[in-house]
């Protein structure tokens, strides 16, 4: 990463400082800021498939939900019998000590990153042979099926839902929980950003783009497209799982279809945010997620009952006026600011040819 320009350096350090200071500056908004970080992570990882690889997936919610259940299950299961915890009629109350809580969530997050990645590999091997809308529909089914299946598994609470361990009571500071989850999600955001930026500078991205632009040609050129598609999806699953794990702890209650495998909301939002900002760009999903979140938090409550109508209008506006997203629109308007140099000689040569 030695090639970071000075201006970029200022931008990045500014953003990091802002990110670190945010929970103190806007103490009351910690939860929304945590959501924002998670939303950006989801949009960025979706962009790897939908934007760079051209595989529009609705299945990333599967990894998000898996991460949520895994983190909570590990956090409980490490210290207490999981079945008794989730049994609704259970009269026993289990309480995590401070050390148990943090050990549990640490190990839980680790598991929630690795297992979804492995599962993405396995599922990817099976279905990444599908292309275009066949793949999209197939992944849509994945999320819905996962929700229904999770709703039938007794040990994770089935239809009752799963209450995640409460934040240790020994920590009396009521702000501590909010800060903990904010910094956790902010760290995840930075990790994801660095990783995605690294991919953007690598040959891997070019291969993904080649798959998007013409998969058959890419294959003809000797690229093992299947391998790269699977690896790409595993990377997304890794970060989606982590994001889910953090959200589970933050929300405190996991419901199979409404919180974990929430394809109707989160699953759609991540696609929408990436498209709003501009898919296939580094900053697009970040800006898209930020704008979307502010739109949602700011306007949602002003139009009680009509918010989904407004969301529908927003989708239409995005698709009609910004088909390439905000970044795509800016890029078209100011190509030189994106480092796209119009070569005068080349242009003249083109004109002469005509």
């Amino acid at each position: 990463m030695g090639n970071i320009k000075q201006k970029d350096l200022i931008l990045y350090s500014g953003l990091i400082i802002l990110g670190l200071a945010a929970p103190y500056l806007f103490s009351a908004f910690k939860v929304q800021l945590t959501y924002l970080c998670v939303l950006i992570v989801l949009a960025m990882t979706w962009n790897l498939q939908g934007g760079e690889m051209g595989y529009n997936t609705f299945g990333n919610i599967l990894f998000y939900g898996l991460g949520m259940y895994l983190t909570a299950s590990v956090q409980v299961g490490m210290f207490f019998p999981l079945a008794e915890w989730t049994e609704s009629g259970g009269e026993k109350t289990f309480v995590h000590t401070t050390a148990q809580y943090f050990q549990g969530i640490g190990v839980g997050l680790l598991v929630s990153a690795i297992v979804p990645a492995v599962i993405a590999g396995a599922i990817g091997y099976a279905i990444l042979g599908l292309r275009g809308h066949y793949f999209a529909i197939c992944t849509l089914g994945l999320g819905i099926a996962a929700g229904e299946i999770a709703g039938g598994i007794e040990i994770i609470g089935a239809g009752q839902g799963f209450t995640t361990p409460p934040f240790p009571a020994e920590i009396v500071d009521t702000e501590a929980r909010g800060k903990f989850f904010y910094f956790l999600s902010f760290a995840l955001l930075i990790g994801t950003f660095v990783f995605v930026k690294y991919i953007y500078g690598s040959r891997f991205r070019l291969i993904l783009n080649a798959i998007r632009d013409n998969e058959d040609k890419a294959e003809a050129m000797g690229i093992q497209t299947m391998k790269y598609k699977i690896v790409g999806w595993m990377c997304s699953a890794f970060f989606c799982g982590l994001a889910g794990g953090i959200m589970g702890g933050l929300i405190g209650y996991i419901d199979s279809t409404d919180v974990a495998f929430d394809g109707r909301e989160m699953g759609v939002f991540m696609v929408l945010m990436a498209i709003l900002g501009g898919k296939g760009t580094l900053w697009g999903p970040v800006i898209g997620a930020t704008l979307f979140h502010f739109f949602k938090e700011g306007l949602w409550t002003l139009i009680l009952g009509w918010q989904y109508v407004a969301l529908g209008v927003l989708i239409v506006v995005i698709v009609v006026y910004f088909p390439e997203g905000l970044m795509g629109w800016l890029r078209e308007k100011y190509p030189e600011r994106f480092g796209e140099v119009i070569d005068e000689k080349d242009r003249k040569a083109q004109v002469e040819l005509k």
Partner: protein, 413 residues
Amino acid sequence: MNKIAKLFVTFISAITLALVSFTSSFAKVEGEYIVLGSAISLTGKYSSNGVHTQNGYNMAVDRINKMGGVEVQGKKYKFEIIYYDDESNPKRAAQLAERLIKQDGVHYMLGPYSSGLTKAIAPVTEKYKIPMVEANGASRSLFTKGYKYLFAVLSPANQYLEVAIDLAVEKNGGKGVKIAQAFEQDAFSQDVRLGILDAAKRTGSEIIIDDKLPKELNDMAATLAKVKAVKPDVLVVSGHTKGALTAIRQISEMKVDVPMLAMTHCDAAKLSKQHGKKSEFALCASQWHKNLSYKDKFFGSGKKYAKDFQKEFGYDPPYQSAESSAALLVFKDAFERANSFDRDAVRDALVDTEMQTFYGNIKFGPGGQNVAKPMILFQVRCKGDDCENRVVAPTKWASDKFYHPIPKWSERS
């Protein structure tokens, strides 16, 4: 990159400014008003019950404010409620609870609709030590988590239909019965199921069908086909409003004959209005019925409450509205006894609550559930095309005899 960076920085600073200016516009906690907060399902799968809940809250706020408000330290205060729409989604509900407490400065909460959403909000209110009186979260698991700031005016979910099984056994000459049951995959209905399992074990009854129904329930034909084949003595269905409507619609379409049909949410679904004679003989669990003899000075009797509610909102109040109204009476009572706005003082006053409202007696057990009020069962009965809910159990309030068994469809006109 230069210009883009600048653009981005401008964008960020604009947001920062907006946020900072927004932070200072906190809603006033006191003043003339006691501000309560509530996330309610105005959209999504619980929207009809969410509105019943909201109407119940609003009705009580108007009434209490009109009748002099809440007197604390010699000064009169009025209630005011800040509502948000939780979209019937637990994730959203938890976030909105946080928002109500942190950004709107709410110190006292009213519950949302449904057990699942209450389960999502309770950890938040508990964290900030915000007393929450809730009227629509009945799942037993809410009361075993050791929550100290959660108070429920209703009886826990596992008690809903236990009585129905007892009734069936009684009609069967004390011998165990064959039970077919189908429950929606959600916190509340699954808890009702646990209650039935307990009752079956206690009475030596046998469960021959035990189905799970999806959320957003609108088809249960598969279960009913099985019921037709195995002929159970009792069919138990629970799945909120949609569950009740779907069950009656398909039972009548498929002409399923069962001697006894026990359900929840019949009155919230306005079953006797929507399905008329098709819903006759359905046995329903309810937290409240207008014919019960409880009284208070704000709403008078249940009958008077029902009349006033009808006048205000144009339909008969389901128990969801009644219990929601009761939640505000509990809050008023607690504020006046605490004679303070200190959250812990109010919480301690809530613990000592022992009162009668038009909705029933209220006294909180150690887990926060209401232990002073039994569940009741009513049965839909029709005269001509006019159908009504009549209380049949417990015997103390029964206005009618329980009709058993349900006549076969071929014999019904």
